[in-house]
Symmetry: C2
Subunit: 395 residues, 2 copies
């Protein structure tokens, strides 16, 4: 293990903490840009409560609403323009992962004269790395992406059909106000997608990491087990604040960096899903739910011991040996069955996607990240043909 | 769960990273106060290598050597005076837990005109809370306290025979340069004490926390299991850098806050041990090794389900039910046997301590922390008599 780690985000976690937003924001200025999505925060009253808390602390605001589920670079540019025009001192991201991701990029774009797409890794010759950004306060309304406590953001360029990311320490939110009560209105399907999303964040680093990271492994298994125990409770009864809190915390921990630190893991399932959802406006986690089990069956053939550990520790199976592929595959079957049990799709056909663009997704994926030999990094590295095989197995 | 969490320390982890000290320190100024202990870093050559790295980065230094294993407030005052007199911009803590703890308090004391003991919680009417401190860079030479990545420090007042602590966000180290190679010269007994120390940090929050913290529980179990697997390897072969790295990372994670966050746990075993080692100059972890199993047998009677979980998940035992006290006690026996197997004492007699001051330790403990009813906080809260009973059972 040889690594660097620093996550400076201050987390304020617990039911009822939305009322502290103004107090928290007061440390960063007098005017906020509130970024929101399709309007659910307005319908639920969360927006009004946030504004009330800001106003009570003497903080005025401007708005950037309408961030898409797969947030677009044009929306980022629009938000940055508003922040500049209105002289905002900070960004308050009030929504799910797409709102938080867009907010992070807006925070840097507001202080950059060029095209914000310059910051997003997309195969360009020179990536622009921003060095200053407005402070961001995240207020998640969905337990899913963990964007509230990390420095990553995924953005789509609708013009070029590219979906890719930026991940730099500058974009760590200053504060994450994580109030699980805000998620009680999330419908069953989105709750389930959130559970799938957070689990996939963990399986990626768990199954693509270096050997001998026993603490990170146990934590990853703990996140998965917690999501599998409490996720169905939150889906069954959306008003179960305890269940909402457990999956919210699991979602934050899943991508806060604690599971990933030192694993040096690539995220092949995410990379593949991004290219798929660049072409089809599907929920990110729905794409993950289809691709992840298919990828697992492919990867288990070479990384058998880790999949055996997954089968034993997460599903209580007993392997005959560390290279017991049958046990590994049984663990993956159980995992896929869990995803189905909470209503997540596990086949492309359920998403209305056929095999027409499989080769294109694969080609696009390695355009964004490759190992220098044209393969997608991961354990094992994947050729174009490997990716197409995985996609095909999930038809 | 309702909590706040923020740990801003930048961690640079991995064998060979001592050479990066100068580069890292360069961000904080031109002159360092290097704080060290009894001289082992000089004998091992680590001091010279640290100085070489600093010099190469154009950083000069002053020294504060001779920090005691139980660091004294007089040494803190001496270090602070040197830092002021020499115009140091930063503190480099090069040593074990005592050196790092002393360094943190020196960093605040250097900018405070009063008595540094004012900052240490010891039953005074008004605790002085410092608001500024010199930046601290920790370079641990022992895998044990986890002080390298947290904001706590334990200091002894030899005049009044009080050992107590300060724990405030101001004291988070700016950077922890964690190089497991620096620990290969640690002798077997100190390596074992380190393993005991880090495990006890985790058992405290695990066994004294609120219910329903499943992720923190799994992480805590992971730290314990990792320490139990790799600790004996590091003891058997001190040059096993992989084993050294595993227990070093376990020690850091044990008290970085990730296991503790949201558990709202008291640290009763530590509080009792501090009063014992205020009277007897024993290694902190030797005291913990004696008191922890004795406390566990006491606490298991009321908090049985959690001890059953400990027995099942850490030692693979199978309980008849969640309140199977026999299983819980069997887990504690196994834990005590592990401590003995690595050479840690589990009876006061092994430390040359008799029952003469048991009542005094207990009285002193609640002088520092109590729940308002004269009891020591924990699960369950402990009366003076309870503490004496625990001490007596470990005679």
């Amino acid at each position: 293990m040889n690594f660097e780690f620093q996550n400076p985000t201050r987390i304020i976690f617990g039911a009822g903490n939305l009322s502290r937003l103004g107090e928290v924001a007061g440390e960063y200025g007098k005017k906020a840009l509130i970024v929101t999505g399709g309007g659910s925060v307005k319908r639920s009253g969360v927006f009004d409560r946030a504004v009330e808390s800001l106003k009570a602390a003497g903080i005025s605001f401007a708005e950037c609403s309408g961030i898409e589920p797969n947030p677009r670079i044009t929306s980022v540019a629009r938000g940055a323009q508003t922040a500049r025009k209105e002289g905002c001192d900070m960004i308050v991201a009030l929504g799910g992962g797409s709102v938080m991701d867009a907010s992070k990029v807006i925070s840097a774009a507001a202080l950059y004269d060029g095209d914000p797409w310059d910051m997003i890794l997309h195969g360009q010759e020179k990536v622009y790395v921003p060095t200053e950004a407005l402070p961001v306060i995240t207020v998640p309304t969905l337990a899913a992406t963990g964007s509230e406590t990390n420095c990553g953001a995924v953005i789509t360029n609708e013009e070029t059909t590219v979906k890719s990311f930026i991940q730099i320490p500058l974009l760590y939110p200053k504060v994450a106000v994580v109030d699980p009560e805000l998620t009680v209105s999330v419908p069953k399907d989105q709750t389930a997608y959130g559970v799938c999303d957070l689990i996939t964040h963990v399986t990626e680093s768990y199954l693509n990491g270096i050997d001998n990271t026993p603490i990170q492994d146990r934590l990853a298994e703990g996140v998965i087990l917690t999501a599998m125990e409490w996720g169905p409770k939150a889906i069954a009864d959306g008003d179960d604040v305890e269940a909402r809190a457990q999956i919210q915390w699991a979602a934050s921990v899943a991508l806060i960096g604690w599971c990933q630190v030192g694993t040096n893991a690539a995220y092949p399932v995410h990379m593949m899903e991004h290219t798929v959802s660049a072409y089809h406006d599907i929920t990110h986690a729905a794409g993950l739910s289809v691709i992840n089990p298919a990828w697992m069956r492919f990867a288990a053939k070479t990384n058998t011991a880790k999949f055996v550990q997954f089968a034993e520790r997460v599903f209580g199976l007993s392997a005959k040996s560390a290279d017991d592929l049958d046990c590994a595959l049984e663990g993956i079957d159980r995992f896929e069955a869990f995803l189905r049990s909470i209503g997540c799709p596990t086949r492309f056909s359920e998403l209305g996607i056929d095999d027409a663009l499989f080769e294109t997704y694969a080609q696009d994926t390695v355009k964004i990240v490759n190992d220098g030999n044209g393969n997608l990094p991961g354990i094992p590295p994947m050729s174009i043909e490997d990716m197409v095989e995985v996609f095909r197995s999930a038809l």
